[in-house]
């Protein structure tokens, strides 16, 4: 399985930016973060002691639709809980996250955006990290589809997702909490428990669950945990940015 690739700060103008490419779902997202910024015109809506998080998702090849507003709401809910909006300089200001879908198939008006969601979330997170916005923790997210026979597919392509019985997006914090769950399609709770376990393994690996031979195999199939991919992307960037300092030492 080919893991996602990401790079930090590809853009010059925005405070922070990231590009993210997930080969299995084919999504390619470019994200930027401006923070902290003044948000005039919304002064009455600003919270007095907290930062206002704004998310904007721009479609790649189709006119904007209500679906983007819904996804924006989800992303705002996730990152809003991570951003330390009460830090100095953030209260009464805004954190503006812009995500553009620059590659992959576009999502139809009525299609669910769930397959795109993990890529959008990861891009938002990396862009926030690139903009040095204070966060309480990081997270990783994945999408799984369950077909009629109960087979779980990780990061399904558009065709697999269309044929699936249910689709689940789960996000876990770096400390292992379930941060987000979006499931649609018919399923029962036991299926969801299985999906949750698999998702947890994809995001964090299975080392925390216990050294069970069976589970270890799952980890191999899923390759490197996503949490590690995110961490390495940031580490690589830090190494590049501080090359002058590291070389001197």
């Amino acid at each position: 399985m080919v893991g996602p690739t990401a790079s930090l700060t590809p853009l010059a103008r925005a405070d922070g930016s990231a590009s993210y490419h997930c080969p299995s779902t084919g999504s390619n997202i470019l994200g930027s973060v401006n923070a902290p910024v003044e948000l005039p015109g919304r002064r009455d809506a600003l919270k007095p002691e907290d930062a206002t998080v704004e998310v904007f998702v721009k479609t790649g090849t189709a006119p904007a639709s209500v679906g983007e507003r819904y996804v924006e709401g989800i992303i705002r809910g996730v990152v809003g809980r991570l951003i330390l909006g009460r830090e100095r300089g953030y209260a009464r200001r805004g954190v503006v996250i812009t995500l553009a879908i620059v590659g992959g198939e576009s999502v139809g008006r009525a299609d669910s955006h769930l397959t795109l969601l993990p890529a959008l979330l990861h891009t938002a997170l990396l862009a926030l990290l690139s903009a040095s916005v204070p966060l309480s923790m990081t997270f990783s997210a994945t999408v799984l589809s369950v077909d009629a026979s109960g087979k779980i597919t990780r990061e399904p392509s558009a065709e697999v997702a269309a044929a699936a019985k249910s689709i689940h997006v789960l996000a876990f914090t770096s400390k292992g909490h379930l941060l987000l769950n979006e499931s649609e399609g018919a399923f029962d709770f036991d299926t969801w428990e299985k999906v949750r376990q698999r998702a947890s393994a994809i995001c964090h690996g299975t080392s925390t669950v216990g050294a069970d031979g069976d589970i270890a195999m799952v980890e191999d199939a899923d390759g490197q945990p996503l949490e590690g991919t995110i961490r390495e992307t940031v580490e690589d960037q830090v190494h590049r940015d501080y090359a002058w300092k590291i070389d001197a030492a």
């Binding site: 010059a12 103008r13 925005a14 790649g60 812009t98």
Partner: protein, 296 residues
């Protein structure tokens, strides 16, 4: 906000004084473009344009729709550009600013109204179905001269794009997948591009391809749209102080030279991409054959 933070007086004076001595901040001559690179993505019609520190992504897409009732033989072509906070922190998400309206209008005139894309070739069945071509422009970094960069991006995208093949059989339109039939290139009638000039000192100094700071310090702008043959398809002096008519006359030849230069860059990039695709296409073919063998 929708307005960049204004230049300080000192900065403005510095730019102006330097220009009076024929010096630009980045060391270019008055008639020199910033380095322009055009590159293509994996999909057809996915273009990345980098002009100095201005960068943008253009995506071309096609779908089958119903033509307008009053023009049953014409396909549809739309250029969609929305400025987001990604390009510049000064731009507001989801709110249309003056710049957006202006640039969209100019692009529409230069590319669409000059009929660069032959919309009649997009017709499939008269009055029933036609192709709708959409060009989405995503501004990723803004450092001046949006119009020229976007224009180059859209034209490159249109030339690079391949739509699925469609055939009419017994009143049915059959659209073949990209892997089944060789996709069809769009019918481009000519290759118009725009060149934007900015004037300073009551029109005494004229430069092309201004950066964001130069744009802010300038008095007025003049946009000339031309194709390789030298046909003028757009000319505007939109706002700012008056400009001597001779500027238009003098600079049209400069514009033509630049249009040829940009078109050459696009052509070169297209050639390179085509060669790359031909190479990987061969690989793809052999792999596809292997797949089939495996299936059997």
């Amino acid at each position: 906000m929708n307005k960049e933070a204004p230049l300080s007086i000192a900065e403005r004076d510095f730019i102006l004084n330097a220009l009076r001595e024929d010096v630009r901040l980045d060391g270019r001559a008055a008639d020199q473009l910033r380095p322009l690179t055009v590159s293509f993505g994996e999909e057809y019609g996915h273009v990345k344009v980098q002009l100095g520190r201005t960068s943008l992504i253009v995506r071309i897409s096609a779908e089958v729709t119903k033509p307008h009732d009053d023009r049953p033989f014409d396909g549809l072509f739309t250029i969609a550009m929305e400025l987001t906070a990604m390009g510049s922190p000064a731009w507001d998400n989801g709110r249309q600013g003056d710049l957006e309206t202006y640039v969209t209008n100019v692009l529409d005139r230069v590319v669409r109204h000059s009929n660069a894309l032959d919309t009649e070739s997009l017709c499939i069945v008269k009055g029933v179905s036609c192709w709708s071509i959409r060009a989405d422009v995503h501004i990723t970094d803004y450092d001046g001269n949006l119009i020229d960069a976007a224009c180059a991006g859209i034209m490159a995208g249109l030339q690079h794009f391949r739509r699925q093949d469609a055939v009419v059989k017994e009143g049915q339109v059959i659209v073949y997948g990209l892997d089944e039939r060789v996709p069809v290139a769009l019918n481009i009638t000519h290759k118009p591009l725009s060149v934007t000039f900015h004037t300073f000192d009551e029109g005494k100094k004229v430069i092309i391809d201004a950066t964001r700071k130069e744009e802010q310090a300038s008095e007025a702008d003049v946009v000339i749209g031309l194709n390789n043959a030298g046909d003028v398809c757009f000319m505007s002096k939109f706002s700012g102080s008056p400009v001597d008519a001779m500027v238009f006359v003098d600079k049209t030849s400069v514009a033509l030279e630049k249009v040829k230069e940009i078109n050459a860059i696009i052509d070169k990039a297209l050639q390179a991409d085509l060669a790359k695709r031909a190479k990987s296409g061969m690989l793809e073919m052999s792999r596809a054959e292997n797949d089939r063998e495996l299936e059997q």
